[in-house]
């Protein structure tokens, strides 16, 4: 059976060159980078080269790069680290309703500690309004966290503009660029951000490693204690093979960006057009300001998990924002924030394209989709009554 992976938003395979870069660090180069002897020094060298690569990829300085265990940790360290460090100056945090849970829940969790959290609404495309950000800032505001690209619907946020405003008002600005890197240019100076989160496995690097960019001068209060690794911002023996892989992956992601993004964008547009032809299907997210690989649609009268299972039986890997897959009882908070009703939100299907996908694969997906949809609709009590052809 065909095996077609259309869930690059969830995770990506290792780039073969990333694995090559990691291999020596899984065998001979096993020393602890904190060790003084040659086994340690060699590994330290590799680690610092990875740091240079990560810094170069986003226009940062090496000492502004902190390696973490992934996007979730980066987001938490940024948000909770800044909040606690800036507590004396103010207690107000601004974020958006479409952030990843790592950001949203980190912010909301701070309410318990006396912080005041403004969760900005979005428009029908899932986009934050710059004017809303501006209007929300008070003299108590210490942190703004708005993502660069949404993981579910692919909508790109006006982060550079928000960054400029934050800078002007003297507010620390964090952006979650986990989905953006490798798909669009990411430069910490153009974005005017003070903190930026990355996760290697979203850009063909290994799982379990991420980066938090921390602009020099930005104060963080860390909450893990131990060794003095990563300038004490992230104690613990480093995930060396992971960090080496992250360095190589981000280097490749930036090098291959233009070539890859254009090709994927074309496939995406073909896939969107084809899926919309099924009828009673709506595109979620912005029509143009979206990630090159993101397709998110709602298929009316049908529930998302049953779509995913049906596609899986045809060898196609996809995801959904339906409650059954969101890990909670409600469907995706992103789709609801965009104003979708529950049925439409439950019927969402996310197909995220990546480096390995081909036009033939898209053709195959489009050839099996209509049949799957009509079978599920034929079982649906809401379809039977309300057919609108």
């Amino acid at each position: 059976m065909a095996k077609i992976y259309l869930d690059h938003g969830a995770t990506t395979p290792l780039h073969p060159e990333v694995l090559e870069a990691m291999k020596p660090y899984l065998t001979d180069l096993f020393g602890n980078p904190s060790s003084l002897h040659s086994f340690g020094r060699e590994v330290r060298k590799g680690l610092e080269e990875a740091r240079e690569k990560a810094a170069a990829a986003i226009g940062a300085e090496e000492r502004e790069i902190v390696f973490t265990s992934g996007g979730t940790e980066s987001d938490n360290l940024a948000i909770r680290g800044v909040a606690r460090a800036a507590r004396q100056r103010g207690n107000h945090i601004i974020t958006s309703a479409v952030e990843h849970h790592a950001v949203l829940d980190a912010c909301l969790g701070l309410r318990e500690e006396g912080f005041d959290v403004t969760v900005l609404p979005v428009d029908g495309y899932g986009m934050v309004r710059v004017s809303d950000v501006e209007a929300a800032i008070t003299d108590q505001t210490i942190l703004i966290s708005i993502m660069l690209a949404n993981n579910e619907v692919g909508t790109l946020q006006p982060v550079a503009e928000i960054g400029k405003i934050a800078r002007g008002r003297g507010v620390v600005f964090h952006t979650d660029a986990v989905q953006a890197i490798g798909n669009l240019p990411v430069n910490v100076n153009d974005l005017h951000c003070d903190l930026l989160a990355l996760s290697a496995h979203k850009h063909y690097g290994p799982k379990g490693v991420g980066v938090l960019y921390v602009r020099k001068g930005t104060r963080l209060k860390v909450f893990n204690f131990g060794g003095s690794q990563e300038r004490k911002m992230r104690p613990g023996t480093e995930n060396v093979p992971g960090i080496i892989g992250m360095g190589r992956a981000i280097e490749l992601a930036v090098q291959e960006l233009d070539k890859k993004a254009d090709r994927i964008r074309k496939l995406r547009d073909k896939l969107i057009a084809g899926v919309l032809e099924i009828g009673d299907v709506r595109l979620n997210g912005h029509p143009t300001e979206r990630l090159p690989g993101n397709v998110n649609v709602s298929v009316r009268y049908v529930e998302g998990e049953s779509l995913i299972l049906s596609l899986d039986l045809k060898g196609i890997a996809a995801s959904s924002g339906s409650a059954c897959t969101s890990g909670s009882l409600d469907p995706s908070h992103v789709l609801l924030a965009m104003g979708l009703d529950h049925q439409t939100a439950h019927g969402s299907l996310r197909l995220t394209l990546g480096a390995g996908n081909t036009e033939e694969e898209i053709d195959y997906v489009l050839s099996v989709m209509p049949e799957i949809v009509s079978r599920l609709r034929s079982m649906s009590p809401v379809y039977a009554g309300q057919r609108r052809d």
């Binding site: 998302g304 299972l309 059954c324 649906s380 809401v382």
Partner: protein, 134 residues
Amino acid sequence: MYTEKVMEHFTNPRNVGEIADADGMGEVGNMKCGDIMRIYIKVNEQDVIEDIKFRTFGCGAAIATSSVVTEMVKGKTLDEALEVTNKQVAAELGGLPENKLHCSNLAADALHKAIEDYRNKRVAEKSNLKETGK
């Protein structure tokens, strides 16, 4: 995640559809949770479920439980059918993932509602008959 039997019922669901002149219909779930199940029954003189059909909007578990419950009670009397629980339905499928046990495992409830609907109608019919006969 799902057992083979769940996937088998999801792939080849039994008794999908409506019964135009159903004797009873039961619906459970709501769009907020993303699960709606509707069960139609046809009951004969001996109180036996002669025909049963379902339509479900929902996840794999919702579809499979709907399918298997129709299979479990077809040919059974109403009293027997009323003894089928959601738990038994899940067991019949070889188990369900824990997070599916509460929201998607409502097929027995839908069945019971259909039976209730049938019985309510019968009571109404009888009293109609009585009234007519009076």
